[in-house]
């Protein structure tokens, strides 16, 4: 008798498969839109001593043993971390055991984790590019505008980033242009995406500006309202269509504010992935549910404790839908926007996404 194949399997652990590692608090840009919680004006986020590169390697070993298949290096600026190259090499030579769904069945495999490096490019040199090439590291470079690049970052390096895209293309390194869209760079969004693609970027990762970190001081100036957000998505779709490239929105949008079917090249997310598809480890080794989150949870040394952490569980089980969404039928496939932006502005995880609010100048306080 033929045995029925299983249609489900238990994961290696409770952890999501993507780990975002914030290598250092430090950065050589001072972006006004930066959402790193340790740059928030009130300095509430506990900044502890950064863990060593040796400790990072141990953590990566542990994560791969727990079913993590994708590792992203970010910061701050990850290239400012001492020993970053050794850490990347270490991660690239680990193997994780996974079970893949193939041809209607499950297949056990041992494979290398997929690596991503998210950088502003200022400290990125030929050696790092060679490393990316050698270990197939996908490179994501931040380009928040062309004419407005310096106003956003306090560094004049838009041409330097475009040059890196050219070099990466010559070396056959997969690249993504990362753009945080604000009121200041919205008017040159078409040119910014186009310039990155012409220089050699393969894909687009676009984020709407969200209040958080240093960006809290600039919320009123930078935050897009609903109509501006629509312009942002329409503009991106137009460039993507013309260049036949793929792009995605990195931050979820309330489904009632977007008709995702209108976009064939821009992938729009309406669900929150925090603690479901990815999680973050900060420079001192503490876990957060996502990079936007100001809530520091368990240390990586005691990562198993997350299973009993109420904050983690809220996100892992998606127990955070805003009451204001009431009986909305779209809630089945929508989380009401970014839950951490809602938390930061509305002080509750189940508050409304800031898109539904008006923000006061320089304070990010709510006026409904």
């Amino acid at each position: 008798m033929r045995r029925k194949k299983p249609t489900s399997f238990l994961s290696a652990s409770f952890l999501p498969t993507t780990a975002v590692l914030e290598m250092t608090y430090r950065c050589n840009h001072t972006c006004i839109f930066c959402s790193c919680p340790w740059f928030a004006p009130e300095k509430k986020y506990p900044v502890a001593e950064e863990i060593s590169s040796r400790k990072w390697r141990e953590i990566i070993d542990d994560l791969c043993g727990q079913g993590v298949t994708h590792v992203a290096f970010t910061g701050g600026e990850p290239l400012l971390k001492e020993g970053i190259e050794d850490i990347i090499v270490h991660a690239a030579t680990r193997a994780y055991r996974c079970i893949e769904s193939k041809n209607g069945g499950w297949k056990k495999t041992a494979t290398r984790p997929r690596l991503y490096l998210l950088s502003n490019g200022l400290a990125l040199n030929g050696d790092v590019l060679k490393l990316c090439r050698r270990f197939n590291v996908q490179l994501s470079l931040s380009l928040p505008g062309l004419a407005t690049f310096q106003a956003h970052t306090n560094v004049d390096n838009a041409l330097g980033v475009l040059d890196l895209f050219r070099k990466a293309r010559e070396m056959k390194i997969r690249t993504t242009v990362g753009i945080t869209v604000t009121r200041w760079n919205l008017s040159e969004l078409y040119e910014t995406i186009a310039a990155a693609f012409i220089a050699g970027a393969d894909s687009l990762l676009m984020n709407r500006f969200l209040p958080g970190g240093r960006g809290l001081d600039w919320s009123r100036e930078l935050f897009l309202d609903g109509s501006e957000m629509k312009i942002m998505m329409d503009t991106a779709e137009e460039v993507l269509k013309r260049s036949d490239r793929a792009g995605s929105m990195g931050t979820e949008i309330p489904k009632c504010m977007v008709d995702a079917d209108r976009y064939s090249h821009l992938r729009i997310a309406t669900r929150c992935s925090a603690a479901r598809d990815f999680f973050v480890i900060d420079p001192s080794g503490y876990v957060r549910v996502c990079n936007h989150s100001p809530e520091r949870l368990s240390h990586a040394d005691e990562i198993g404790q997350l299973r009993c952490h109420p904050y983690w569980n809220i996100f892992a089980t998606k127990d955070y839908l805003p009451d204001s969404c009431g009986r909305c039928r779209l809630m089945k496939t929508c989380d009401g926007g970014c839950r951490e932006a809602a938390h930061i502005i509305g002080h509750e995880v189940n508050a409304e996404d800031p898109l539904f609010l008006r923000l006061d100048r320089k304070t990010a306080e709510i006026r409904t």
């Binding site: 489900s8 994961s11 995702a260 079917d261 479901r276 569980n313 089980t317 127990d319 089945k332």
Partner: protein, 223 residues
């Protein structure tokens, strides 16, 4: 002639009286139901006998028209998932079980539908207040239920402080909606696009969900 006039008067009085009586009965029925509900719910919870009494007294008509719902409601279709598996996160042990998103039969399709909408089920069951009900998702977790090959979602109703437990398999979101509406004292069910229907029509299904005997099967109980 006199008999004819008398006959007409009697006929008019009968019709008028019937109409008045019908309206009186109709209004009283809904109002009394609300009063009954408030009386039972005064202590914050509903006993089994109270629930049965409420079920038996659900109004058959209202003093207003039922809403047909908005006709030009903007809907946005679900974007297709790129993945070929879906992770279920167990709320008890937080372990993750991966399920194939390609269903090969109706049973697998139903299971996927439950998995994809599990948050909606959890949200809805929280709205069933006043009686002790909960979802039992444990069959979906390979850590909590390693031996289960064909998992189902259960609704568990605890009567008499857990001494009498009723379980229902394969519930739907609509089941939880009507249950939540019923225990909140509603007399209508608001369905897709806010289309209204009498909760009385769902009485057999409500009885089945709550573990009460169902007198005669109908199409709703057969669902």
């Amino acid at each position: 002639m006199g008999n004819l006039v008398l006959g007409i008067i009697i006929l008019l009085l009968t019709i008028g009286g019937w109409a008045w009586g019908w309206n009186y009965f109709k209004d009283k029925s809904e109002a009394e139901y609300k009063r009954l509900y408030s009386q039972y719910k005064a202590d914050g919870k509903l006993e089994r006998s109270e629930i049965q009494d409420l079920l038996a007294n659900l109004p058959a008509a209202l003093d207003r028209d039922l809403s047909l719902g908005a006709l030009c409601y903007e809907t946005i279709s679900v974007t297709a998932t790129e993945r070929n598996y879906h992770y279920y996160v167990c709320p008890l042990c937080m372990m993750r079980t991966a399920y194939e998103t390609k269903a090969t039969n109706e049973s697998e399709a139903n299971r996927l539908n439950v998995l994809m909408n599990i948050n909606e089920y959890r949200r809805l069951v929280k709205q069933v207040k006043g009686i002790d009900v909960k979802l039992d998702e444990s069959q979906f977790c390979r850590h909590c239920s390693p031996g289960i090959s064909n998992p189902h979602l259960l609704l568990v109703v605890n009567w008499e402080n857990g001494s009498d437990i009723h379980k229902v398999e394969d519930i739907t979101a609509e089941d939880l909606e009507i249950l939540a509406e019923f225990v909140q004292g509603a007399v209508v069910h608001k369905g897709e696009r806010d289309v209204e229907s009498l909760l009385l029509d769902y009485s057999p299904r409500l009885k089945r969900l709550l573990g009460f005997p169902v007198e005669a099967p109908d199409e709703k109980t057969a669902r």
